[in-house]
Amino acid sequence: MAYGDFVLQHDLNFTIETGDIFVIMGGSGCGKSTLLRHMIGLNEPAKGEVLYGLESFTKAPLHRRAAMLRKVGVLYQSGALWSSMTLAENVALPLEEFTTLARDEIAEVARLKLALVGLAGFEHYYPADISGGMQKRAGLARAMALDPDILFFDEPGAGLDPISSRLLDDLILELRDSLGATIVVVTHELASIFAIATRVIMLDREKKGILATGTPQELRDRPPHEFVRRFFHRVGSAAEVHR
């Protein structure tokens, strides 16, 4: 992964199994969100490819990529709700574009999706009218609109209080259990990682690759690297801040 001549990561090779809650973690600036952008097609890899199943997403023609992306839902860090639309309209838009449901059916599905994330009654609110935490939940409702096979979360807990963050973690677990979705989360919040992750990779900015991989418990109890130990035990020095 690179921005121009600046190589962010050059040695990434991992597989996400169906049904995983796969967490991508690492220090600030190591490329977690950039990796996620590569996985959903917003950035193109300088080398290598992203595969969905056995099919290359990176090399697929546009119409095929579009079809693959319809099975994907993304929750962006700030929610990324379309500000000129109500919450219901935000959730309804993908349904209008990609289903043949009638207008009233779409409205009902949108209402239901919002209710699933605890926003029943807020259908006619605009994003600017609600809190950041509620915007994230509305963003999640939109990401779930087409019942995707894979859900990507970019720093879902950022800016949330501990209770809201825990509620979001519970929601993520529920989505995996009830929808059977595979979930990929970019985060560095330890509490969430331990609550939800089935597998974790830790990226490293210095090494420009994967520093560690395993379950959160494995990485905490048998850290393969000093930085991993410090990360999981929240032991840091000023020098580590810049790793």
Partner: protein, 412 residues
């Protein structure tokens, strides 16, 4: 602090200033005119140590003594075994003193002289250690840009930049054409409500400013024309002048310039903001084409509104000229109108409307292109809006020139 309720005071809260701080804490004090002035002096001890004495109150916002005396001592040829600090008379301080101490420490270290911090207050010593905990990352500095590049370098850089801009602009126009093709086939995806909102914002809400500008423009043309025409006793032809000028060119041109500043900038700011908040990313991951959903309705809105605004602007300009003609030049309203109608032909009007339509499309393209190319910071969004206006006006004027040439060649 308390408040009166029913005749007795209710004690709400007491706020006291903090107790005097220990030497480990950074004392906070307000600057006062009686604070002792900052002072630096140096002395050599018998065991070859350079003691830097810091006295007085050191606060950000106050004047600090320069390092000169310390530098002179260290450059004098005498090499002390260590540099230490005497802060016996140091009063209140904040991070302002940190900069001085850090600079002094660096001077000493660069000369291989040990720095003894035992004379510093604990808080200061800890802050200095924290600042030095992480060694400077050598490759973290951005490449130094040449402040004064050779003129050929500048020309080359500008040529490359222009070529890239031209390429991206051409690509954008190509994508817009494809989007229009999808529209004609009924496959373009955008919300009707968005389109009507944009029509309202670009059309009806622009009427007041178009009225004002075009009315005044017509009046100005009438004044300027009258000055010359009066010498020939032909002030009646002011009506011809204003009518033809407005309908053929000026109405469309000035309306377009207004819309470039109004709608072009708004489009750039809207799309730029959507980039910052990742709304455009969300559309892309849902495979909803940004061109169809965001750009096309904006282009269509101006495509629909600019011809109407052009005609409206023409009418306002003629009205403005008529006002001057009637009020200042003594021409009767009926005469003015008849003269205008005789001078202005359908060809002029159609030509003006065509120009206005083309200008509208150029404004929308300029605004939307700058918006989708905007960076992801608030200042970048502002820059995009500015560039949209400039690009819009430049493209309008260029198109105006081309139209003049083409119409001349066609004998229109």
């Amino acid at each position: 602090m308390g408040r009166e309720t029913g005749g007795h005071k209710e004690h709400l809260a007491t706020i006291r200033p903090p107790a005097s701080t220990s030497s480990t804490q950074m004392p906070i004090s307000s600057a006062s005119s009686e604070s002792p002035a900052t002072e630096v002096s140096v002395r050599r001890t018998e065991d070859q140590v350079l003691v830097v004495r810091i006295a007085g109150s050191w606060h950000i916002g106050g004047a600090f003594p320069p390092l000169g005396e310390v530098e002179r001592e260290l450059a004098s040829g005498w090499k002390p075994t260590a540099v230490s600090f005497d802060t016996t008379d140091l009063g209140t301080w904040d991070s302002g003193v940190l900069a001085f101490l850090a600079a002094t420490s660096k001077l000493a270290r660069d000369r291989g002289i040990k720095v003894d911090r035992s004379g510093l207050p604990k808080g200061l010593a800890r802050l200095l250690s924290l600042a030095e905990a992480v060694p400077e990352k050598k490759d973290a500095q951005a490449e130094e840009e040449n402040d004064d590049p050779f003129f050929l370098q500048r020309i080359g850089a500008r040529a490359i930049h222009t070529q890239l801009m031209f390429k991206s602009g051409l690509s954008f126009v190509g994508q817009l054409v494809l989007s229009f093709r999808r529209l004609l086939r009924g496959r373009a995806r955008f919300r009707g409500s968005d389109l009507w909102l944009l029509v309202q914002q670009s059309g009806i809400e622009a009427l007041p400013i178009v009225t004002l500008v075009c009315f005044l423009l017509g009046g100005i043309l009438a004044f300027v024309g009258a000055i010359q025409l009066e010498t020939f006793g032909a002030t009646i032809y002011v009506a011809d002048l204003v009518g033809v000028a407005m309908v053929r060119d000026m109405g469309a041109l000035f309306t377009a310039i207004i819309m470039a500043g109004r709608s072009g900038a708004a489009f750039a700011a809207q799309l730029g903001s959507m980039k910052v908040t990742q709304e455009i990313d969300a559309l892309e991951t849902m495979t909803i084409p940004t061109m169809d959903f965001l750009v096309l309705p904006r282009v269509i809105a101006l495509l629909l509104m600019m011809p109407l605004l052009t005609l409206y602007g023409d009418a306002m300009g003629i009205l403005g000229g008529g006002f001057v003609g009637v009020a200042m030049l003594g021409i009767s309203p009926v005469t003015y109108l008849i003269e205008t109608a005789d001078a202005v032909s359908l060809t002029h009007a159609v030509g003006g409307v065509i120009k206005g339509t083309v200008y509208g499309v150029l404004i929308a393209i300029a605004g939307c292109l700058q918006g989708v190319q905007s960076g992801k910071s608030s200042s970048a969004v502002g820059d995009a809006a500015t560039k949209a206006v400039v690009a819009g006006i430049v493209s309008i004027i260029t198109a105006c020139g081309l139209f003049a040439l083409v119409f001349y060649m066609l004998g229109i």
